[in-house]
């Protein structure tokens, strides 16, 4: 610690610091314009000039980067300093009279107008004031090295390389974030809500998925994180006190030997963007069901308040069933759970707001315990049920305060009329659909899918949890849309089956199998990728193919394919088949 005298007061400040930091610690304000906590002091606006006295010599230095020395005397507001700041401010005002940060600073320093006129005067409110913060961010913090200064003297301006759009820019937005005048803007070119946790507003690349996550630990999205693209930034590591951030963590691939697998990979929510008539992704205040769930949640982006994008409460809410399900253009099946959660939405909206609620349905599927009763309760709560799938959502005309609103066009089949319902917010009941990568999962485990795309159970009635492949079980929405009670039942059943096999210790398989007669196989590899169960492998050392008995289901595809007759079916050799035919024909 060293002792300095600042504006007549003696203060103790840490060594190795600048006048600006020391002044801040002493509670003295020094104006700055090109300074930021993110990077080393730039020292170009000169507004932070202060007077430093050592012995008989006094000199003007910039506070932001001048190092403190013991015994220093600093005047941050002497006449000389005030006069310098005044004229520098006048220089800035004469060139950028309408930029807010310049105007505010001038006002704070007591300067109204400039005595100079500038030939380079720029009237705009978002003019670039050449503070260099964006350049320093991009080069020193983000380390993408895209922005720089070109031309000398009064012609100086901020440019990208050769003044052209460049792929070097990683679109991190740091320059826009730090720009004090709004000269740099981030423009959204394409909005496609890919990850549901990102659709309701931007998040930083390091984020906690939801406040109810277990464990509630932040994760880094490597695709948008600056560090993973340029090696720069690392601000999160700098501020983390327990030093918990490790950029070098990698995916671990762990091999476990198992005898049985339970697949519960869940569902994806149908993306309503292709259904242009509903305006999802195009119109404001049209939400998918999961987005609305997150709005309703008290740890969500609105804290549980049902508000529109502009922060106001909706006057009317429309809830549309069967989006992407019961639809020959998308999925023909019924997504099972939507009717009930749509009713739940209606109940919560009624509970928290005064909005009018409209439900647009085809059929009301209230099949479970207490469900029909709940439906009746909703009717009592005054929710308007319109039997007729909504045809289209358009921008509405309820614009008394200039607020945006929507209109739902539908056919109310019960009264036989076309209706247009004005609403402020629309909630879509998106279908549950199979996961995008379910085909890859299927191939991995040699199981099939039903025509609707969900994994195929061995028997729809008598065995809904196991699959045609021994030892592979399915449960939950990976097998088909279902709600929580059904999922729990199915999963428990699968677990029980698995446990019973584990306790048995071994498993029986069918004897009908293919096998390779080694003495006849020449390793032509024609059979190698025939097997739908991946049971055929090629043994390099012997240069012949081999069938894994555990995986082989005896389908015979490889036997038909084998040109040398080396592959044969147990109990189904050519001789045996011909003998059977002979027997039949005699």
């Amino acid at each position: 610690m060293v002792t300095i005298n600042i504006d007549g007061r003696t203060v103790e400040v840490p060594e190795d610091t600048t006048i600006l930091k020391a002044a801040d610690q002493a509670g003295v304000w020094i104006p700055t314009m090109c300074h930021s906590e993110y990077f080393e002091p730039y020292g170009v606006c000169r507004l932070c000039s202060v007077e430093v006295v050592r012995g008989k010599r006094s000199r003007i230095v910039t506070a932001c980067n001048y190092p403190i020395r013991n015994g220093m005397t600093i005047h941050t507001n002497s006449e000389r300093v005030k006069w310098l700041r005044k004229v520098i401010m006048e220089m800035l005002i004469s060139r950028w009279p309408n930029v807010k940060v310049v105007k505010d600073l001038a006002e704070r320093l007591g300067i109204e107008k400039s005595r100079f006129t500038s030939l380079e005067r720029d009237e705009s409110e978002n003019a670039c004031i050449l503070c260099g913060m964006c350049v320093n961010m991009c080069n020193d913090v983000v380390k993408a090295n895209v922005l720089g200064f070109a031309h000398t003297g009064i012609e100086r301006k901020v440019v990208r390389p050769f003044d052209e759009k460049t792929d070097q820019c990683i679109v991190c937005g740091s320059c826009a974030h730090v720009c004090p005048t709004g000269h740099i803007k981030m423009v959204l070119e394409d909005y496609r809500g890919k990850k549901s946790e990102f659709t309701l507003g931007p998040k930083t690349p390091i984020y906690v998925p939801t406040l109810q996550a277990v464990p509630r630990v932040p994760v880094i999205d490597a695709e948008s994180c600056i560090h993973f693209q340029t090696g720069g930034c690392e601000n999160c590591a700098k501020v983390c006190e327990p030093n918990a951030i490790n950029y070098k963590m990698e995916d671990e691939i762990v091999e476990i030997d198992v005898g049985q697998v339970l697949i519960t990979t869940g569902f994806d929510l149908f993306d309503a963007s292709p259904m242009a008539q509903y305006g999802y992704g195009r119109l404001d205040n049209v939400y998918s069901s999961l987005e609305f769930e997150s709005i309703l949640n008290s740890t969500g982006p609105t804290g549980g308040n049902i508000v529109m994008k502009n922060g106001k409460e909706p006057r009317a809410v429309g809830i549309i069933h069967c989006i992407g399900s019961r639809d020959t253009n998308h999925h023909a099946y019924c997504s099972r759970v939507c009717c009930m959660y749509a009713l739940k939405f209606a109940h919560l909206v009624r509970d928290r707001t005064d909005a009018a609620i409209y439900q647009f349905y085809i059929d009301m599927r209230a099949f479970g315990k207490g469900y029909e009763e709940f439906y009746n309760r909703l009717l009592d709560e005054g929710v308007t049920m319109i039997r007729g799938k909504a045809a289209e959502i358009v921008e509405g005309a309820w614009n008394e305060n200039g607020d945006p609103s929507l209109k739902i066009r539908c056919e109310d089949t019960l009264i036989g009329k076309f209706r247009e319902i004005p609403v402020d917010m629309v909630v879509l009941c998106n279908a549950m659909e199979p996961r995008k990568d379910s085909d890859a999962i299927r191939r991995l485990f040699s199981i099939s899918k039903s025509p609707d795309g969900f994994f195929l159970e061995r028997h729809p009635k008598l065995d809904p949890t196991s699959t045609a492949t021994e030892g592979v079980f399915i449960a939950g929405c990976s097998q088909g849309p279902k709600d929580i009670p059904d999922t729990v039942a199915q999963a428990s059943s699968a677990a029980a089956r698995i446990l019973s096999l584990i306790s048995k210790g071994e498993v029986e398989i069918e004897p009908v199998r293919a096998m390779v007669q080694d003495e006849y196989c020449s390793g032509c590899k024609i059979c190698n990728n025939m097997c739908p169960y991946g049971a055929i492998e090629f043994i390099e050392e012997k240069k012949i193919s081999h069938v894994n008995e555990a995986l082989c289901k005896g389908c015979g595809t490889c036997v038909a394919a084998c040109p040398s007759g080396a592959m044969t079916g147990n109990g189904f050799t050519d001789e045996q088949i011909l003998a059977e035919l002979e027997g039949l024909m005699l």
Binding site: G43, V44, C45, R46, L47, S49, I60, V61, T62, N65, Y66, P67, R80, W83, L84, V87, I88, M91, L92, S94, R95, R115, F116, T117, S118, L119, E120, L130, G132, G148, F149, H151, T152, G153, I154, E155, R156
Partner: protein
């Protein structure tokens, strides 16, 4: 082989631009024609300094000085001087207004009053021949240093000599070396600043062209003293001849084992790399220069942490000007006492207490003898301008002298007896600078001259900090207004205020010294500014919008008989009048070029 005559033909840039190489070739042809090639040798040398009278040649060992040579003169000289033994009087130097020529160089006042230390080898050696340099005592200093002195002893010698930075800062060189040496680091760097951006300054250019080995030897000694094995010469790209001579010199030095590893078998390694500038005045500033060598944009940074601590690539770096380096071998050879006996003040107690040794100045402007001079510190400005410089051209009246280039200020006649000294010049608002000296006479407008220098620094501003970038532009805008007749009293107040702010708050010395010409002219020539602003007149007759040309009708008719010469030459067709009649100038059309004023033989035209 000994010749009876050596013809030292000046091959400095100025003379080369005036075809001195053709003269050299012509000499060689003539000499061969006359069969004198075994007796008369032709040698090209560096710049002699008397640029006003180039192309020039000195015949040694006689010391006969020939000036203003043309190719057609050569056969006559060869015939007359080298065959018949009669030096040619018509081609010798004759002072203006006198009749008798001065044959010997050493008698010519321009040369007689100089004290060449840095330029001791100019005109005497062929700079592309390392043996010439060695024959004149070259590389003896480094030999002495490597064999008998420790680095600390070298530094002490430089400190005692009182040598101060010749680039303009005037910082005591010995202290700089000592500080740099004492910073612990795995690498130290030496830099020679040969960027010389001041317009009108060519001291460093001539030094490198005439005697590049002196600079190399100086850097070797500096490297040894500081503990550096790598030196850079940052030379501006607009000096092709100097660059070429430096590259040749470095190559020769390498071949002779004077650069490279284990120099003179003393285990001392030193290598010199050349970095070229790319046309930025601001890159003469040390931090911008180092940024340029590192490949970054040439922008200065705050010097609160000095470059001797953290310079090139954040290593301790000692940067000195060409002239500073060139002084070092002489100091080592002839001793610090000898050096500190030349100049002003006393440096034994306070290294800032005096200005020691000599300074090279490039004298230009309205003097008779323009060129390069080296004079001892402490010489008066009057002596430089009137004795060495030969006084004001065309007998006009002296008005002011600008020292220190665009960073310096104007000194009026009242201060002409000022001794040339770092502190003295700074006291009056100017500075020593790198050595540019421009003389103005009664026909120069001080406002216009201030505007000229400010427009240079404004263009060369890197634009990084607000005061220099915006402030110099605002100042220039005001000066434009004033010189166009639209200035007001408030503008003068504003101008002075702006100037002071720019000086105090700029990030580097470019901004910190750019307003100096304006401030000194405001101080010493305020009446000229007021004439521009109040009377809308230009006393120096330079600001076009403010001058008027008038024809005195009586002189025109009585003396000139309406000769019509002015009208014929007027590019704007602004002169009306018939032959033998009185002529008048149409003020609307007149472009103020002044051609009529120049061509009128009868002085009928006056300007106000």
């Amino acid at each position: 082989m000994a010749y009876r005559s050596y013809l030292m033909v000046c091959a400095g840039t100025g003379c080369v631009a005036n075809q001195s190489m053709k003269i050299k070739e012509k000499l060689e042809t003539e000499i061969r024609k006359k069969g004198l090639q075994e007796e008369v040798a032709v040698v090209t040398t560096g710049c002699n300094g008397f640029c006003a009278v180039g192309p020039l040649m000195v015949v040694q060992p006689d010391g006969i000085f020939y000036q203003l040579l043309k190719e057609t003169d050569i056969p006559y000289i060869v015939e007359e001087h080298f065959i018949k033994g009669r030096p040619v009087k018509e081609l010798m130097f004759t002072p203006p207004k006198e009749k008798t020529p001065i044959p010997k160089l050493s008698d010519i006042p321009f040369f007689a009053d100089q004290t060449p230390i840095v330029l001791r080898n100019r005109g005497v050696i062929n700079p592309e021949n390392i043996d010439d340099y060695i024959a004149r005592g070259g590389y003896e200093a480094i030999a002495k240093v490597l064999t008998s002195m420790t680095p600390e002893q070298v530094i002490q010698e430089i400190k005692t000599s009182g040598l101060r930075g010749r680039g303009g800062g005037g910082f005591p060189t010995g202290i700089k070396w000592e500080t740099c040496r004492n910073i612990p680091a795995d690498k130290h760097y030496i830099i020679c600043n040969a960027d010389e951006g001041d317009p009108g300054a060519f001291m460093d250019r001539s030094t490198v062209e005439s005697d590049p080995h002196a600079v190399i030897e100086g850097m070797l000694i500096g490297g040894y003293a500081i503990g550096s094995s790598e030196g850079y010469v940052y030379i501006r790209n607009e000096y092709p001849i100097a660059l070429d001579r430096l590259q040749t010199a470095i190559q020769h030095a390498r071949e002779y084992g004077l650069l490279g590893t284990n120099i003179l078998d003393k285990g001392f390694d030193f290598e010199i790399k050349i970095a070229r500038g790319a046309g930025a005045f601001v890159c003469g500033e040390s931090t911008a220069l180092m940024a340029s060598i590192e490949g970054r944009p040439g922008e200065p940074r705050a010097k609160y942490v000095h470059t001797v601590e953290k310079g090139l690539w954040d290593k301790p770096t000692c940067l000195n000007n060409v002239e500073t380096w060139a002084n070092v071998p002489q100091i080592i050879l002839r001793g610090a006492e000898w050096f500190s006996s030349i100049g002003t003040g006393d440096v034994s107690g306070d290294p800032w207490g005096g200005s020691k040794g000599t300074k090279v100045f490039s004298l230009s402007g309205k003097v008779n003898n323009t060129g390069l001079i080296e004079v001892p510190m402490g010489i008066t400005l009057r002596k430089i301008i009137f004795d060495i410089g030969g006084g004001i051209k065309d007998g006009k009246k002296f008005k002011a002298v600008q020292t220190g280039g665009p960073s310096g200020g104007f000194i009026p006649e009242s201060l002409l007896d000022l001794p040339v000294d770092y502190e003295e010049l700074t006291k009056v608002g100017s500075m020593m600078g790198s050595g540019g000296m421009v003389v103005a006479d009664e026909n120069n407008c001080m406002v216009d001259m201030a505007k000229y220098f400010l427009s240079f620094t404004q263009t060369e501003s890197c634009g990084k900090c607000v005061p220099c970038r915006e402030g110099t532009k605002r100042m220039l805008d005001i000066l434009e207004k004033i010189t166009e007749g639209e200035g007001t009293e408030e503008d003068l107040v504003l101008l002075e205020e702006l100037s002071n702010v720019v000086v105090e708050s700029s990030l580097c010395a470019l901004g910190g010294s750019a307003p100096n010409p304006v401030l000194t002219t405001l101080k010493y020539f305020r009446e000229e500014y007021e004439a521009h602003v109040k009377d809308k007149k230009c006393p120096g007759h330079a600001c076009r919008k403010l001058i008027t040309y008038t024809i005195d009708p009586h002189v025109c008719v009585d003396k000139g008989h309406g000769c019509h010469v002015c009208a014929k030459n007027c590019p704007d067709g602004a002169i009306l009048g018939e032959t033998k009649q009185v002529h008048t100038i149409d003020v609307e059309k007149c472009g103020k070029c002044g051609i009529c004023y120049d061509v009128c033989k009868f002085d009928a035209i006056s300007v106000e």
